[in-house]
Structure formats: C-alpha cells, structure tokens
C-alpha cells in the first residue's frame, strides 16, 4: 500500500513537471529558433524580448555563445537580465565593420541609420556613398587603427563587428566600457550560401523589421533552391574549376567545405579541391596547385585581376594553364567602384541565387542562354 502510494506520488510529480513545461511553452508566444540555414545564429522570440545567440562568432571558436536580448525601447525587463547584453530596438544609429552588413542594412531600407563604416573606399552601395559625401557616414578606421574618439563622438546605439578572435575584445573593451553595445557578426564564417544570406534576420530583429527580413530571405531561399534543382536536372558534365592567385610561391586554397566551394558544386561545377576540409584557407605549394590546375576548365575569383596581363605579371608561368589559353577566365569584379569597393562582397552575400546563376551561366551557358552576368565578368 505504502509502495503504491510512493509510486503514485512520484508519477504525480513527473506528470505535473511535464505539465508545467508544456504550460510554459504555451504561455510564450514562440520559442522556436527562426533560423534554419545559418549555423552560427539563433533568434528566439520570447515574451517581451528577442533572444539572439551568436554561436562561435570567430574563426576557431569552439563552444562560445554570445547572448543578446533585443527589447523595445522603454520596455521593462526582468532583473536577471545582464543590462550590458540588452540592445534596445529599433536601432537608430549603427556603425558597421563589414560590407556585408552594409548590404543587409540597405536591403531593409535603413541606410540612413548607418553612421560609420570601416573603410569607406570598400563600400559599393550608391546610397551609402551619397550619405558619406554629405558627411552622414564616417570612416572609423579598422582593427588596431580604429578611431575610438570618432566612434565616441558618433555615439551609436550599436557597433557591428566581425570576429577577429579574442583580440577584438581588447580593442573594443574601452568602447563597451562607455556603454556602446558591440555585437559580433559571424556571417562570413557561414559556408552555406543561404546560411550567410539568412543573417539578414539579425538585422530584421535589430530594426524591428522581422517580417520584411523574413520575406526577403524566404524569396531568396526559394529562388536558390529552384535554381539549384534546375541546374542539377540539366547538368550532364561538371567542368573542373580552380580559384585564386598565388602569393609568391604559396597559393592559398579555399577548402572543399567553404562558401565558394559549395556555390560551385551547386552551380554544376567540379571544384578541384572539393575533397579538402579545413576551417581556413590552406597554404599550398605553387607547384602542387600548378599540377592540379592543369586539369581546370575554368578559373574563377582571380583576386582583383582585371586583364590577362595582370595574371602573368604575378607569375609568368601561370599562362601554361589550359583554362588561361582557352580564355576561360572569369572574375567577380564586374560591379566595382573606382576606389576598390566590390558589390560581390556586399550585396552578393544577400543574393546567393544571383551568385549561383552567374557561376552556372559561366560553367553551363547552354542552360541560361542569353543570361547576362551580374557580378562576374570575363577576363580578356
């Protein structure tokens, strides 16, 4: 009798425990992470605030989680919440360190909130450049040469940086101390092209434009998947692709698990180093790349090269490649500014389906007859 009593009591506790959990989830509006593709981002809508987690925000980070609480301006927040992690939205004044951030802000129509960038010369967006001309966007420098006084003068709500590892906390410590919020954006570490584009949802949350950001991403995802399946259906042979340029006698090779490798594979190409795996670019000996590169049908992303002569001036031996002789050279610098801004690194991150279409058009012109390239151009 006693035993039965105990068992029923235990059961009761277990059941009530479950019930409580269920009740909690029911009470909250939504606890689902709304991020599906990006591996290093999680956004969860809680009651009264949005919890943003940036996972392993820099190269080589393992098990690092940075949590931020996004809340409406003036809303009351629970006491346990670390106020230094609270960001009030919509953000009204932001400084960005990467061009991809600028693209996403522009896509949401919030370029007027952009008060500073790192290296105005690298910006492509005409509207941001116009603002810069009017003196509305400042150049705050880069890394160790960051102009802290200028940042303090601007006093933005938020600085968005990209992960430079533990060092970054050092040079931004002073700024955090002054109450300016810093958030690390890890979009450039995403290897899935759609994963990188999904980071627009972070900006959506920051500007309280979640619906716009979601719909922009959904149409992007839709376009990319449709294009990808069309390519897979139509492709019979996969041309071999090589990338980059040597640095003296070292050639940094993007590994097979990189963003560009995934893009080439989705575009029906056969990247020559697709079987390699590494978190960073790998320094290969030039002779090694040379021998494999002899098999390449196409040569893409050739640094900042604009003509054939620039390739041979880097190393005259590079003209031996069959793809060089056959004129199959394409570079991602069709949309550039005079000073060095390249839209491939800006809006390209937000429009992977356009990148995919470009590369697929290069490798399989028969699938997209008459399609004009957007970010890429032929090198002659």
């Amino acid at each position: 009798m006693n035993i039965l009593k105990y068992i029923s009591l235990c059961l009761l506790i277990v059941v009530s425990g479950c019930g409580k959990g269920k009740k909690d989830t029911g009470y909250l509006t939504e606890t689902r992470n709304k991020i599906s593709r990006a591996e290093r981002l999680s956004i969860v809508q809680k009651d009264g605030w949005t919890e943003v987690k940036i996972i392993d925000p820099w190269q080589g980070a393992n098990g690092v989680k940075q949590v931020y609480y996004l809340a409406k301006r003036g809303s009351r927040l629970p006491e346990w919440m670390d106020s230094s992690a609270v960001i009030f939205v919509p953000v009204q004044k932001m400084i960005c360190m990467s061009t991809t951030h600028v693209a996403m802000i522009t896509a949401l129509g919030e370029e007027n909130s952009l008060a500073g960038v790192s290296g105005i010369n690298f910006i492509y967006s005409p509207s941001v450049l116009r603002n810069a001309e009017k003196g509305l966007v400042a150049d705050v420098g880069y890394e160790a040469n960051l102009n802290k006084e200028l940042i303090i003068k601007i006093s933005p709500d938020l600085i968005m940086i990209y992960g430079i590892g533990s060092e970054s906390s050092g040079y931004l410590g002073k700024i955090r101390e002054l109450g300016i919020k810093v958030i690390i954006n890890a979009d450039y570490l995403e290897t899935d092209p759609l994963g990188r584009a999904e980071w627009i949802k972070l900006f959506g949350a920051l500007y309280s434009k979640d619906n716009l950001a979601d719909s922009l991403f959904n149409s992007e995802e839709d376009a990319y998947t449709r294009l990808k399946s069309l390519i897979i259906k139509s492709v019979t042979i996969r041309p071999k692709v090589m990338l980059g340029l040597p640095f003296k006698d070292t050639w940094f090779i993007s590994p097979g698990n990189s963003f560009i490798s995934n893009l080439i594979s989705d575009a029906g190409g056969d990247y020559l180093w697709k079987d390699t795996k590494s978190p960073v670019s790998m320094p290969y000996g030039i002779e090694n790349v040379y021998i494999r590169g002899l098999k390449a049908d196409y040569w893409l992303n050739i640094s900042s090269v604009k003509n054939r002569k620039e390739i041979t001036s880097v190393d005259p031996r590079l003209d031996d490649f069959p793809c060089f002789k056959n004129d199959n050279l394409f570079n991602n610098n069709k949309r550039i500014t005079e000073k060095g801004g390249n839209d491939f690194w800006e809006s390209g991150a937000l429009h992977p389906h356009l990148l995919l279409k470009d590369i697929a058009t290069i490798l399989h012109p028969e699938i997209f007859p008459g399609n004009e390239l957007m970010y890429y151009k032929k090198i002659d």
Binding site: F247, T250, P283, Y284, G285, I286, E287, Y290, L294, P316
Partner: protein, 355 residues
C-alpha cells in the same frame, strides 16, 4: 728550436689536409642538397620522371615543374645562400663583431627602404607591372643604395663606439626606425602598390622571373669575385686597423671595397627575394667552427659552400616534401640561424678573441 719549427710545419700540413677534406665534404653536401632540392617538392615526382624532364622525355606538367619551378628556385637558393653568407662574413670582419650580419644590423631593412621608394614612392611613373627588363635593375640599384646607406651609418657609429653590443643594439634601433618609415609610406600609398610591396616583403625564392634571375646572378657573381680578391684585406683588417696600416694596406680603400661588395651581395638578394633572416650571421660562424681558423683564404670559399648548402637545405625543408603545404622560407632560416646566434652570444667571451 728546430723541432719546434718542424712541429709547426707538420701541424700546418695536417690542418691543410684537414681543410681540404672539409672542403670536399662541403662540396659534396652542396651538390647533394642541390640535387635533392630539384628531386623533392610538394608534388611527388618519380626520380625517373625528374631525370626525364631534362631530356624532354616526361609528362609535360612534371617537366614544367622541374624546369620552370624547381630548377630556378634551386639556383636562386644557391645564389642567395652564398650572397648572404659572404656579406655576413665580411661584415663580421670589418666591424670586428661576431653579431654582424645583413639582417641583424639593418642592412636588409635599408635595402627594403630602397625598394619601398621604388614600389611605393614613384607611383605615378613606375608601376609594379612595369618593373620588368630594365626595371629590375632600378629595383636592385635602389636596394644597393639603401643597403649602402645603412652600412655607412653603421660604420660611422662603430668607429665612434667600440662596444660590439652597443653597435648591435643601435643596428636593431636603426632597422626598427627604417621599418617605421616604411610603415608610414605604406599608410599613404594606394592599395595595389601596397599589395605589391607587402608581397615583396615576404621573403621567397620561387617567384623570380628568368630576367630577374639573370640580374641576381650577374650582380652576385660580381660580388663573389670581388670578395675572392678581398681575402688578404680581410685578414689584415682582422688584426686591427693599425696593424693593417703598418703592413702597407690602404685601410680606407680596403674598407670601401668590402663595403661595396657587401652592399651588392645583400642588396641584390633583398631586392628580389625580400629580407631573408639569420643566414648571413649564422653561416660564417658554422664555417669558423668547422675549419677552426680565421684565415679568410679558407673562410671565404668555406662560406660560399656552406652558405649555398644551408640555404638549399632550408628550401627543401620549407617545401615539406610529401605534404601539400609549404612554409615561408624566412621561418625556416630563422629556426636554423637563431640557435647558432644564441650559442655565439652565450660563449661570446672566449669567442670574441678571434676578432
């Protein structure tokens, strides 16, 4: 009395025989490393294919790798090793300072400054792409002038300050100062030129065009010939300037010759391969220990053989044969050179007797 003379004589004959043996060994070592450098690399090529490449009798890709990549690189390594080691030997004698060397005393930095002026300074007239043919001579001449200017400065300093460690510290200060000037130049130069310069500063042996290799070979050969003639002067200078003057050597002339010779050797290498560290300082010490002499008639040929062999070995190591990755050559030469330098510093008290 008579026996003592005879003993001296046999000693000399013995040591002469020993020196000859070491010379033969060093020469064989040099040839061995030269062959290994061509046979080993990040691509595995069968020895038969390597030999076939020279007789137009092998896979075309492999043939290109052997003839266009490995052979010029091996010749460059050999030349660079000889040039840097010789200039190190001459500097150590002229300054009577075991710590002297083109890298440590800032001669390489001076050459960098010359190159920076060419690449970054005259952006409107000379672009990196136009530096072919005659442009290579402009680059190398700027490098000589930069190296020479620093040499001159160090010489003035060392004539005023006798303490070798002080001169060394001043050399380090000088090269830091020059780096600061170059940094400022970089800061104000445009992106493409900056990139050209940054790529240049990463020491490398494998990127010389045939044209550049010719310029390097001609200028280093001139330097080597000049140094072969300078062994008597160096021997005299080693015994002190007063002594050198008393045996009828024109000290000023001797210094000028060695000065020009060192600037040509260190400057030419730096112009095309970037600053390569610690070979120039370490190799002469290894040679002195090996031959147990301070006679430059032996040290100069010994340094030529040893310098070439060490640089070839460094190049083989930097290719990490069998793996696809390569190491920067500068890292390898530093790892080889620094232990020697530390060893010299630690036993400096006994060692400085030979200066």
């Amino acid at each position: 009395m008579k026996t003592a003379v005879r003993k001296d004589l046999t000693n000399e004959i013995n040591s002469g025989r020993k020196a000859r043996l070491i010379f033969i060994c060093l020469f064989l070592l040099l040839i061995l490393f030269l062959i290994l450098d061509i046979f080993l690399g990040s691509v595995n090529i069968k020895p038969s294919e390597v030999i076939g490449a020279f007789f137009n009798n092998s896979h075309t890709g492999f043939q290109t790798i052997i003839l266009k990549f490995r052979l010029p690189k091996a010749i460059t390594a050999l030349t660079v090793g000889i040039a840097l080691s010789l200039s190190g030997l001459q500097m150590q004698t002229v300054f009577r300072n075991p710590m002297a060397g083109p890298y440590v005393l800032g001669i390489s930095s001076g050459a960098s400054l010359g190159v920076a002026f060419v690449i970054l300074g005259f952006s409107s007239t000379i672009t990196p792409e136009s530096l072919t043919g005659f442009g290579n001579w402009i680059l190398v001449a700027a490098s000589w002038v930069g190296a020479g200017a620093v040499m001159l400065l160090i010489m003035v300093i060392s004539s005023k300050v006798k303490d070798i460690m002080t001169v060394l510290i001043l050399g380090i200060m000088l090269s830091s100062g020059i780096s600061a000037v170059v940094t400022i130049m970089q800061y104000f130069s445009n992106e493409t030129l900056l990139k050209a310069y940054v790529i240049w500063t990463m020491g490398s042996l494998g990127n010389l065009t045939v044209n550049q290799l010719n310029v390097l070979l001609i200028s280093v050969s001139a330097g080597i010939i000049l140094s072969l003639f300078s062994s008597k002067m160096l021997n005299a200078l080693l015994l002190g300037e007063n002594y050198a003057g008393s045996i009828g050597l024109n000290v000023r002339f001797a210094r000028a010759v060695i000065f020009i010779c060192t600037s040509i050797l260190a400057g030419s290498v730096t112009a095309f391969c970037g600053p390569i560290g610690f070979i120039g300082i370490a190799v002469p010490h290894i040679v002195r220990i090996l031959f147990k002499t301070s006679d430059h008639k032996i040290l100069i040929p010994g340094t030529i053989l040893m310098g070439g062999a060490v640089m070839l070995a460094s190049d083989i190591l930097s290719q990490l044969p069998g793996s696809e990755t390569v190491l920067p050559i500068n890292a390898v030469t530093s790892l080889i050179g620094i232990p020697v330098v530390i060893w010299v510093i630690l036993r400096n008290r006994q060692y400085s007797d030979s200066f």
